[in-house]
Symmetry: C2
Subunit: 368 residues, 2 copies
Amino acid sequence: MRGPDGAAAGGPPSPVIARVTRAGRDESIHRGFGAVCGAEGEPVAAFGDPETPIFWRSAAKPFQALPFFEAGGDRAFGLTRDEAALSCASHSGEPAHVAAALSMLEKGGFSVADLRCGVHAPYDGASARELERAGEAPSALHNNCSGKHAAMLLACRLFGFDASRYDAPDHPLQRAILEKVAFYAGYPAAGIEIGIDGCSLPVFRLPLSKLAAAYARLAAPAALAGESAEAAAARVRIVGAMTGSPFHVSGTGQFTTRLLEAGRGRWIGKEGAEGVYAMAIADPLRGIAFKLDDGSSRARNAVACALLGQAGAWTEVPASLAADVRPELRNARGTAVGEIVTDVPLAWARAATPARATGAPPAAVPLR
Amino acid sequence: MRGPDGAAAGGPPSPVIARVTRAGRDESIHRGFGAVCGAEGEPVAAFGDPETPIFWRSAAKPFQALPFFEAGGDRAFGLTRDEAALSCASHSGEPAHVAAALSMLEKGGFSVADLRCGVHAPYDGASARELERAGEAPSALHNNCSGKHAAMLLACRLFGFDASRYDAPDHPLQRAILEKVAFYAGYPAAGIEIGIDGCSLPVFRLPLSKLAAAYARLAAPAALAGESAEAAAARVRIVGAMTGSPFHVSGTGQFTTRLLEAGRGRWIGKEGAEGVYAMAIADPLRGIAFKLDDGSSRARNAVACALLGQAGAWTEVPASLAADVRPELRNARGTAVGEIVTDVPLAWARAATPARATGAPPAAVPLR
């Protein structure tokens, strides 16, 4: 097995997928593994070992919102599209995010004290500085996960569940979410390991390839085999909220927001902590997921762009993402000192060919 | 060749030296390479490929201060011990650091406008927040390198060099510094590659093992072959300032400050960007250097402690560093979710045995 687990046990390493240069030399490198899956979760391409188990982290958020949406909770509580997007966001804690999270809480008669996500300063630097200037401490509303937690509180109200311990792995809402992850991943719930996430919710550990498969299914245009019409409609509403309100999925200047804006419904992307990123392309329908071995994020955007291009999302990178492809590194004086250069050795399954690949198509090497 | 360059070219990977766990599983891993050298720079132990070239980054700071100290500049300008320490610091931009940097400038008739390091917010969170609350912007004095730059301006005054472009690679001060790096590394100056550092100064690229050798020589008790009495006395004053004023080498709560405090002259340590760390132990005289492949720093302190123990600095880790050995990771609610676990596969040269090693001595495997 490659990736963190296998490599720590002496197994083969993940490939180098990004180099951080200085004066034309490689100063640091990043390794990683990833998978591209087709409409039914079938493997299409991969690099490294796509069967390495990973914690999905915040890339699981669309699925964590599903039980609530499937039961019509978004309509029952009259969520706006921005609020629906916030329910699966890792937001930057900007004033509009905080206002939307508070609005969601109030629609269920909850307050900030009911959130169990903990407190951290806004990811958005300007918002964090504004709090400092005003002499205000951040609250749980500024936590990047506050929208997800607010939606879970509303789900407890909707289903009549105990709202005081909604984050416990044995809580009925968390059991329902686990079943959703298992269904869309095509993986037995009993085989999914559970850890504690940065926001205290259960976090799911299963093979990376299943995250790619789950994102392909998330973006499927019609109901899947074994999926209810309500569930299919729910994920369409969730994806629609993400593509329709990109700011509420992340924040000002953030890669995921710019990626969603550039896609205009043609693709989605969602980050997770520790170097995880998951995406779906609508045409050809593909799910994509990858993780950096070292859990860092500085090469993540460039790798995501490389994979979207190779998987057929575009033949030319959108202008708003051009600077993400090969980011220039500048020092404290603003001088260019190096760059981040990606080279993702995507190996295609024998039957699969890259759709609309740029340049020469990659050799058809079988997946291991 | 291992490490960033070689690995990117398809060479063997550096070993996994730290695992970041969650729920008992390896979520992310860090690879790295390092070297332990003896009193004359001879290899004693290593992991990964110690001959991988690296940019020394801020681990070069004691050597960048040497020409000034060797010429007696610290005495000529009446630097305090704190100011001498600041001349080779990566400080946190706390008020005392800023005051010391300003004092150094004023001793040469310079002002903040003469600093060419650029501006960044203080590393120290409380100091950064205090600036925000006061509505003040950070200045070049808050740059972690401001003490080094101030000492270089004083050097220009002392030597009669042009102080307006002291950061140019062809400036006589930078040429003198390059010669110092070459001498203590035991490596030809012509073979040292130059890049631009985060603070705009020249940064030096040469094999990692030479950084370990340079730190062993930096800490040598007597004059080295080919070293003037003035140069030997200068490095004794520099090391004495670092061990005597640990706060001025880094800052509140910082690992390097705590390491220097715990050492009380028995060892020194200095970080560099992109996962570089260099140390010296006084008895047995050893130089130690390592780099994380991915350039991250979260496993750095734990790896430094592991190496100091294995190289004979202590048989029991000092209490003030105990939490650095195997750091616990907590989430936004304060719940323990994982830890950083190191395992540094140090291979000892055949002739060398670890002095005062804890537990069973490692097998005597030859260095490659």
